[in-house]
Symmetry: C2
Subunit: 229 residues, 2 copies
DNA sequence: TTTGTGTCTTGAACGTGTTCAAATATAGTG
DNA sequence: CACTATATTTGAACACGTTCAAGACACAAA
């Protein structure tokens, strides 16, 4: 029952560790930063750090999770300002990336764990599950009340699909070495348009016959996600 | 300049290590098997093991690579026996999974690293570049001389796309907990049909306008894969 | 003030993957 | 066979993530 202590002192110390870790990760990367380094910079002993965070990875996860708060607020604004689906989708992802920018250099080490469901490797699957839920809920708000055109039977899968799409973009962005990550921007422009069109196409009568196939596949895939342990 | 020694003795020792590792991974999993265990079982000192494999991960990679030999032979047979694209694709993937079956329990470890950019275990990394090439070449043979219908401009991307598809299926299979991995079989049936139809649809005139968009996105994506270091 | 009960902190110690200088085996050459 | 160079092996040592028993601290009740 270690995590999420709520005494004021614990909160302060948690924050101190996060600050130290973020600074060090940015300075020298994830691998090159040892738990002893983090503890030192936070003026603590190693053991104390482990009192507040179960593992080194959990620190990264906490840093990542902090950005979700901002993302949720931002999307509330965004959905109020426009119903245009493409604009909303692009805006949500842009904002998420901007938020994550300081973490970009070391985020690669977490990316895999975050979105590989049921990976026996990841000891935080329950923690990352909570974040998945939050991130998917954000995509839910993007869709809700938007101009999106899509065959009705896809609605229940939309937030999962869009979340997957965002994950893909994010993982591209993480290893995008072009200046200012321009390639990610270009890929975003292309694929946001593509995704929008693709959804629209699901309503074309002649193509509609394939929807059943797609849905079955989606449901199978979803089943796996649910059982993630 | 450590790897790939070609003296007969080195080859024998490499094989002994692989045998020991495979047995231990199957008995108790990847994490629970220490390098000392592997060395012991292979009647070697730890250092000797590291003389033949740079890291523990490289052992997994070698075990995985061993299956490619069989896959290549099998696909040569398969393409001779039928030109039907769907049958070939399904056959190639089925065979690959059957081949990997003994490794399934601990391949999850590999799967976790699949999407971590820069991880030596990632299929995008330079370490596994050779294997990637071979696996993609196999998909090339599946397409070549097959009944596949697809818009010509996609041809250059086919083997990469199909390889990605296979990766997706494999990663699903790895964490598929249904008995006999039935869900994977069902997903395969659905998606092989889907993929075939999807390719065919790229030739429909009305939809053809989106092909440019898709191709641009593909090329951007490809760029990243090339530069993976 | 003293005692008691939780909340934090400490740092030595453990297990793991990995490295390395030194020792040994092997093979090629005179 | 002896000599040399290269290929292989050894096991102690290292660094890092992690654990844990013991202690320090805060603060309420007596």
């Amino acid at each position: 029952m270690l995590p999420e202590r709520n005494t004021p002192k614990a909160k302060r110390t948690r924050q101190a560790v996060l600050n130290a870790a973020l600074a060090l990760f940015q300075e020298r990367g994830f691998e090159a930063t040892t738990m002893r380094d983090i503890a030192d910079r936070a003026s603590l002993a190693v053991g104390a750090t482990y009192y507040h965070f179960r593992t080194k990875d959990e620190i990264v996860l906490a840093l990542y999770g902090a950005t979700l708060d901002a993302a949720e607020a931002w999307v509330r604004e965004l959905t109020r300002s426009t119903p245009d689906f493409a604009v909303r989708l692009r805006g949500a992802i842009d904002q998420a990336l901007a938020q994550l920018a300081p973490c970009r250099p070391f985020l690669g080490h977490l990316a895999g764990h975050v979105f590989i469901p049921g990976s026996p490797l990841s000891p935080f699957s329950s923690e990352s599950a909570a974040m998945r839920e939050r991130a998917m809920a954000i995509m839910g708000s993007v869709v809700e009340g938007s101009t999106l055109k899509v065959a009705g039977e896809f609605r229940p899968h939309l937030q999962r699909l869009l979340w997957l799409y965002q994950m893909g973009i994010t993982s591209y962005w993480i290893s995008d070495r072009s200046p200012q990550q321009r390639n990610t921007q270009r890929l975003l422009s292309l694929t946001v348009a593509l995704v929008t069109k693709l959804f629209a196409v699901t309503r074309v009568p002649i193509l509609r016959q394939a929807n059943g196939l797609i849905l079955s596949a989606l449901e199978l895939g979803t089943g796996r996600l649910e059982q993630a342990a």
